[in-house]
Amino acid sequence: MQFSLHTKLNRSVKVMAVCTSMLLSNSLQADEVEFEVSGNIALEQRYFLKEALDAEQLSHSQTSLSIEAGFYWQWNDGNDSVIFTPFYRIDSQDDQRSHGDIRELAYIHASDDWELRLGIRKEFWGVTEFQHLVDVINQTDGVEDFDGEDKLGQQMVNLSLVNDWGIVDVFLLPGFRERTYAGEEGRLRGPLVVDEKNVSYESSAGQQHLDVALRWAHSVGDYDLGVYWFHGTNREAYLSPSPQAPTLQAPTPKLVQYYAQMDQLGVDVQATLGDWLWKFESIYRSTGLEDFWATQAGFEYSFIGVFESNLDLGLLMEHSWDSRGEVDLGAQGSLMQNDLFLGARLAFNDMQSSELLMGIGSDLDHNAFSFLVEASRRFGDDFIVNLDVRLLQSNEKNDLLYSLSNDDHAQLSASWYF
């Protein structure tokens, strides 16, 4: 089984490689090729304020080093290009967090009214800030950070058609990526570790199921609209405790991952009206186990030049809703079924691009809070320093935040860009 999966994966990679090389040889003539390298190396230090709940977890300090490089070739006036973005992280504590990924390895051909993108890529959809509900193409690289904004590269064939009435994107997505989760030593996880080896799929094709997506996006005056339909493997696994009896080697049960097939309809709208940005995202997801609706909606208001200075202040408010309502921990459902988020973003508009972001999240159905501060500033020409503080608190045992309430932490990182 394992063997055949690999041969299938190899085959689809080979097919893509052959297609790419055929397209390349067609368009790559005597034309000059421009080449560019860029990237960053980041050193990150996390400090957890309290002892871990689980003895196996790291106690306070976690250090890691990451590198992301971008190799870029373009020719034919930039209408043909190849991008390669490898990524690797080494973590001092969590084996699962030491990992690598090909974020991008893709060939792009652009014509006047269409574009073909072939290979491993990232594709982002959505308009809101506190939750990216409609963003569905790429799997979350869960070990990277708490906000879930880091994504794994996704194999795809993407044809983009530009029309007067909007841009239509067709996606064929072979090769599913499993989500990454914190390991036994890692923090910011629930009481049970997710078993990366115990994974099952609804589709008999498993990781080789060919997912498809179709999206339309358009700007009409002050409104930006997007609608899509996705059919394929749910990026969110259903997690359940392993039914096997505890053994000496594995005294505590682990969580088993089950990836169902889903159909998902998504809508995102932003109205940009003067100083106001009104944002709305909604999905309807249907799997073999459940059907539900969810929305994320809110606004952002900007004050330009507050306190008679160059500072800009943005105020954000968003609400999350999920038709599944409050659920027990371990049962399927959303953490954000009736949650309110407030945020303030202060941009100093100085030479160092200093920025400060504060946010509070609160569950309106029970007593749970999250609080975050993110500050960043440039030093010299090529260094960026980030300081993040996250405090998590919950009185509700069913809430994931309850199991994370010992995971309050500060994170300092210094990145060098080249």
Partner: protein
């Protein structure tokens, strides 16, 4: 009764104000100021599209410098503001960030930002005209294309700058979101090229002076200054703009200014 009277008097004042705006012709100075500005715009029409590289040198009071490297692509749009694509190369942490703008003479501009780390296209508010561009002494409005409708005008006379006779025209921004009460612009009488602009802040005190130098003519028509220097008199900081690789009529079209081109801009 009282409110009725009040309403009536408000109405009368309003309609008087409206009528006076329409019926009273522009004064001779206002008309001349407008004429000069229209001529300057007219002389530069027909460039179709252009590309150029921009180097920004930010200097603070202590003389510390910081560099911004930017590539610009612009498309002339008939009977509307221009379309532009701004691609950031330096500082290195913002490399790959790109900014798409559809400007309009009177209505708010449409603006999108592409953030490469998340691969996210974000529609942003174009109300922020007075804010600094990339931490420089240039405000967003200082870098947007000149449209006659954006100001009302007053001719102030002639003055000599660098051996050239210049018209001196005062401009009053129409948009209430502008950071200025007025600008004084010097244009040479020969080619209608801008040589100097004084900016007055919301309190009407002198804020900045922008000087243009090293003018070059492209495709035998369009004049562009290779160097622009903005000095902020209030905080002692300055920003120098150096333009290079100007190219006109390169064949850019609408399709080079949409979400897709924003995402792959380099």
């Amino acid at each position: 009764m009282l409110t009725k009277k009040l309403l009536l008097s408000v109405f009368t004042t309003l309609s008087l104000a409206l009528i006076s705006n329409v019926s009273f012709a522009l004064s001779a100075e206002e008309q001349k100021g407008l004429d000069i500005s229209m001529e300057a715009k007219k002389r530069d029409l027909g460039w179709q599209d252009s590309t150029a590289d921009m180097l920004m040198l930010l200097r603070n009071k202590q003389g510390q410098e910081s560099i911004r490297e930017i590539k610009m692509k612009s498309l002339e749009v008939d009977n509307d503001g221009d379309k532009s694509l701004t691609i950031f190369n330096k500082p290195r942490d913002v490399k790959g960030t790109a900014f798409l703008s559809f400007s309009h003479p009177v209505d708010a501009d449409d603006q999108w930002l592409f953030l490469p780390a998340l691969k996210r296209v974000k529609r942003i508010s174009s109300r922020n005209k007075s804010g600094p561009f990339m931490g420089s002494e240039f405000a967003f409005e200082d870098l947007s294309s000149f449209e006659v409708e954006k100001y009302s005008y007053k001719y102030l006379g002639v003055e000599e700058i660098n051996g050239l006779t210049n018209f001196k025209v005062e401009q009053y921004p129409v948009d209430e979101n502008s950071g200025y009460t007025r600008r004084i612009v010097w244009l040479d009488t020969l080619e209608y090229r801008v040589h100097k602009i004084d900016f007055y802040d919301r309190k009407n005190s002198l804020l900045k002076t922008l000087t243009f130098s090293d003018y070059k003519q492209y495709i035998a028509k369009h004049w562009r200054a290779d160097k622009q220097e903005m000095i902020n008199h209030q905080n002692g900081k300055s920003t120098e703009l150096k333009w290079s690789n100007y190219d006109f009529k390169t064949g850019l079209s609408d399709s080079d200014f949409n979400r897709n081109s924003l995402k792959r801009a380099r």
